[in-house]
């Protein structure tokens, strides 16, 4: 099957405006007759739900949280990029486009990225008009800061809580539409299946988490904005409930899953302190501006870091990458940390941590300067670890943070299934093999506020689809299957908890499908995942009933999907026999240990088609054509 990205032709800077000009809009009087189902109410889903309602569509939005304000978009710290050029530093739509394609190591679709850069400026306008309190200069104008992967200052921010403020902006717009009766909000409802009739998405089956009841909902279109799958690795910076169920079950219904092996690992997180660990917390990358990263030269050195003399320390980033030093890019410094820990030189009780030391900076600049720059981060570090980072080096380690892969979509953000749209982190389209900092918020809001509300016309402009009753056998079948799966989980009646299995799955993934991957390890991982899945279905223990709120069932149901999805992720990593961006295959590296891309053979999107549990999925390729940007090696020298 040939995948058609439906990318418009012509000069890249005209494509989006021409696309809009050519749209066949829906008659305003008819819009309320179109019912749109939106799953997930983070930045992408919440923005789409509110905006579609403003346009007049009849929107039903669903979240498994008690309120849309809890979505994990809220945890983003750093900022949001936009090509405003308020700093007069020669920024432009073109430059943001170029930086994003290059940052993604040339594995994204040019036209989608250009559109993202184009609407980025409107996002800032819209958010400010909603009352989002971005940081400002004394003159009253908006402030910017710089971020990795760019030479211009284009990142807008609200202290260290940019995601929170943007999400609360979305939430307020959504609240307004709820109060007007234009959005029907369904809280504490988890989507368990997409219903497809004659090749068209016609609705969803959701489970009421308070009563356990399955419900069917018809929609003229279904929008998935359900986030990423970093929690496949158990430990990540994602929230506890983030999961792959919605997108994975759509995949099982025929939607293609694209580039699942593109998973981003962030170098500066607070390390694991013990077996009890439930999540990892990110520390802003900006700390590397003044901190020096080191480990002891000797293996198994258990001395207090302050007792280790200078001559017995290895400032390995400064040694290995003299020009970039501690500011080496995310993927490079993550892999270097793993290497020294694998050598047995890691610190912390687990041996999986490196020092980030501020003592030189404090001596040079004084404690006050460091406190002004990083005070809140130091405070957060001390709260979590109990260690005062002014007098002891911090300990950090890389952690799973974001997933660039997701359901395959065309230029309309529609998957290969008619009427099924996918937004935000849940789709694959804009970040290629590596996402730049401050670009996730931009993409979620771009998709939700500006792209989908236009592109949904490409589907609805053909006229209103025929309504399918929720009594249709396909709805009934989905309800029965979703219920049966839960009953099957309960019936196992084994001896281990869902969390136990999730933790073990995470370890397999981290060890073999993590920062550095190779053929042997990936094949082993696939075997191990299958074995673990087998064991899961024989030895899982669940307590309580399915007819009351039951977090054990919720968790087990999600882990069951991770168990299948993990295999797909490993397949993709195995099949992509090159290194690019965050995907590092040890077989393909330069002499200095940097990623070696293979454009001749791998300049494509891998889109996987489900063929059954434990069966090898089929891979479809969407070739990537770079008409406007010249393919080049990412260099850090």
């Amino acid at each position: 099957m040939k995948l058609d990205g439906k990318v418009p032709s012509g000069p890249i800077e005209k494509r989006w405006s021409k696309y809009i000009a050519d749209l066949k809009p829906v008659n305003p009087a008819n819009k309320r007759k179109f019912k749109v189902i939106v799953i997930g109410t983070g930045l992408a889903g919440g923005a789409a739900a509110a905006t579609l309602a403003e346009l007049g569509y009849n929107v039903h939005a669903f979240t498994y949280h008690d309120s849309p304000r809890r979505a994990h978009s809220i945890a983003a710290q750093g900022g949001i990029n936009a090509a405003k050029n308020y700093q007069n530093d020669a920024d432009s739509v073109w430059r943001l486009f170029y930086d994003t394609v290059k940052g993604g190591d040339f594995r994204s679709r040019e036209s989608n990225v250009y559109r993202l850069a184009e609407v980025s400026a409107n996002i800032i306008d819209q958010s400010v008009s909603q009352g989002v309190p971005f940081a400002r200069e004394y003159g009253g104008y908006l402030a910017n800061r710089s971020f990795g992967g760019a030479l211009v200052s284009r990142t807008f921010y609200a202290r260290g809580q940019t995601g929170q403020q943007l999400l609360l902006g979305v939430y307020s717009a959504l609240n307004r539409q709820i109060s007007l009766g234009k959005v029907t909000m369904h809280n504490r409802k988890e989507m368990l299946d997409v219903v497809i009739v004659d090749g068209r998405a016609v609705g969803v089956v959701v489970r009421d988490l308070l009563t356990g009841k399955m419900e069917s909902h018809y929609g003229d279109a279904v929008v998935l904005a359900t986030g990423g799958y970093a929690n496949t690795y158990f430990l990540s910076t994602n929230a506890q409930h983030c999961n792959v169920t919605a997108t994975y079950r759509a995949y099982k219904k025929g939607a293609f899953f694209a580039n699942p092996c593109f998973t981003q690992i962030h170098p500066t997180c607070i390390p694991v302190s013990g077996e009890h660990q439930s999540k990892l917390t990110l520390m802003s990358e900006s700390l590397r501006n003044d901190g020096r990263i080191w480990v002891p030269k000797a293996t198994n050195d258990k001395r207090n870091p302050n007792d280790i003399p200078e001559s017995e320390r290895d400032y390995y980033l400064e040694r290995m990458y003299p020009s970039y030093g501690n500011l080496a890019p995310r993927d490079i410094s993550s892999r270097a940390a793993k290497r020294v820990c694998d050598e047995g030189r890691g610190v912390n009780a687990t041996g999986n941590a490196v020092y980030l030391d501020f003592s030189d900076a404090i001596q040079r600049l004084g404690q006050q300067v460091i406190a002004d720059r990083y005070g809140n981060l130091f405070e957060m570090y001390e709260r979590i670890t109990g260690v005062d980072p002014y007098n002891n080096p911090m300990m950090i380690y890389p952690a799973l943070h974001y997933t660039m892969g997701g359901l395959w979509v065309d230029y309309n953000l529609m998957s290969n299934i008619e009427g099924l749209f996918v937004l935000g982190e849940a789709n694959f389209s804009d970040h290629g093999a590596n996402r730049l900092g401050a670009s996730a918020l931009m993409q979620g809001l771009s998709d939700g506020y500006f792209v989908l509300p236009n592109t949904i016309n490409s589907y609805f402009g053909k006229g209103k689809p025929q309504t399918i009753s929720t009594d249709h056998p396909e709805f009934k079948k989905s309800e029965v299957e979703a219920n049966e799966r839960i009953n099957k989980l309960i019936a196992i009646n084994g001896k281990e908890t869902p969390t136990h299995f999730h933790r073990r799955l995470g370890k397999i993934m981290w060890d073999h499908v993590g920062m550095a991957r190779n053929e042997q390890g990936l094949k082993l991982a696939i075997e191990k995942i299958r074995e673990l899945r087998e064991e899961f279905w024989q030895n899982l223990k669940i307590v309580g009933t399915a007819s009351n709120i039951n977090p054990v069932i919720e968790k087990a149901n999600r882990v069951a999907d991770f168990m299948e999805f993990a295999e797909l992720l490993a397949y993709d990593a195995l099949e992509r026999d090159e290194s690019c961006g965050a995907h590092f295959r040890e077989e393909h590296q330069t002499e200095e240990g940097e990623a070696k891309r293979n454009d001749a053979d791998f300049s494509f999107v891998s889109a996987w088609e489900y063929k059954g549990i434990g069966e090898r999925p089929d891979m479809h390729k969407e070739e990537l054509n770079f008409e406007f940007i010249h393919l080049a090696e990412r260099s850090y020298k």
């Binding site: 509110a50 403003e54 949280h65 008690d66 309120s67 849309p68 304000r69 809890r70 994990h72 809220i74 945890a75 405003k84 306008d125 819209q126 400010v128 008009s129 909603q130 009352g131 309190p133 971005f134 940081a135 200069e137 003159g139 009253g140 104008y141 908006l142 609200a158 202290r159 929170q164 403020q165 939430y171 307020s172 717009a173 609240n175 307004r176 709820i178 809280n187 308070l210 929230a239 506890q240 409930h241 302190s273 013990g274 009890h276 660990q277 439930s278 999540k279 917390t281 709260r383 979590i384 109990g386 506020y449 908890t497 136990h500 223990k541 669940i542 307590v543 309580g544 709120i549 054990v552």
Partner: protein, 251 residues
């Protein structure tokens, strides 16, 4: 370390509920409070008992899901700290720890330590927004906003909607929550056109939900994990009086 837990168990809104004792022997001081509860829950599942239900998600202190009354205080003994950011090193070996849900007239108990905070959503829906459709926004720098005003709006906007303010208040008042949102928007130039309507609608909805009024206990400020100041309540009261004089009390 060892701790003795006394946890509120209640099997649904209509169940009477009671405190149940649990002993935990293998608690590490590096654990977060919720990780300690995770261990308890894993043990309970293995024993075939139902785990303690509590809300949590981001575990970074920002989503506002978690919220327990620990030893009588919403979010526990550490000031400016959410339940998920509280760590066991703040307790001593052998401590008795009492864990209860956020209790307030307008928060009904769903199960165990989980409460229904949808009243907060409805207050926001009544007027906690600026009516600005996508497409109508002017350039973001078209209206300069003084830095001190923007910073003050940000102080108010830091609210995570956890409900600790209402749970801490002897009157069960949600004034700090309502004041934070209405002040954020009423401080900014973009929020001026709907300023009067907003504050009246939100206060009206707050009363409808069954929250009490403010009589200056300041318990809300002490419990707020984001250290939001009660000065915003004063600002809201001022906005409210002006709005009522201009437009009356009827929403």
């Amino acid at each position: 370390m060892k701790v003795k837990l006394h946890i509120w168990r209640q099997n649904g809104p209509n169940d009477k509920g009671k405190m149940v004792d649990y002993n935990l022997d293998n608690v590490s001081s590096d654990m977060s409070f919720l990780e300690m509860l995770d261990i308890l829950n894993e043990d309970l599942i293995l024993k075939g008992e139902e785990p303690v239900v509590f809300e949590h998600d981001c575990r970074e202190g920002i989503c506002g899901s978690c919220g327990l009354v620990i030893n009588g205080k919403p979010h526990g003994p550490e000031s400016g700290t959410t339940t998920c950011q509280l760590h066991m090193r703040k307790f001593k070996d052998g401590d008795d720890i009492f864990v209860e849900p956020f209790r307030s007239k307008a928060f009904s108990i769903v199960k165990d330590l989980m409460v229904d905070r949808s009243a907060y959503d409805r207050i926001q829906q009544s007027g906690g927004f600026i009516s600005a459709n996508v497409g109508s926004a002017p350039d973001a720098n078209a209206i300069p906003i003084a830095k001190n005003i923007a910073d003050l709006a940000m102080d108010a906007a830091a609210c995570i909607g956890c409900g600790a303010c209402a749970a801490a208040c002897p009157n069960g008042s949600a004034m700090l929550f309502v004041a934070a949102k209405s002040s954020q928007l009423n401080l900014l130039p973009q929020g001026q056109p709907e300023k009067n309507k907003r504050v009246r609608a939100m206060i009206n909805q707050m009363e409808k939900e069954g929250f009490g009024g403010c009589s200056n206990y300041y318990e809300c400020e002490a419990a707020c994990p984001k250290n939001i100041s009660v000065r915003f309540i004063a600002k809201m009261n001022r906005d409210y009086f002006v709005a009522v004089v201009k437009e009356g009390t009827k929403v």
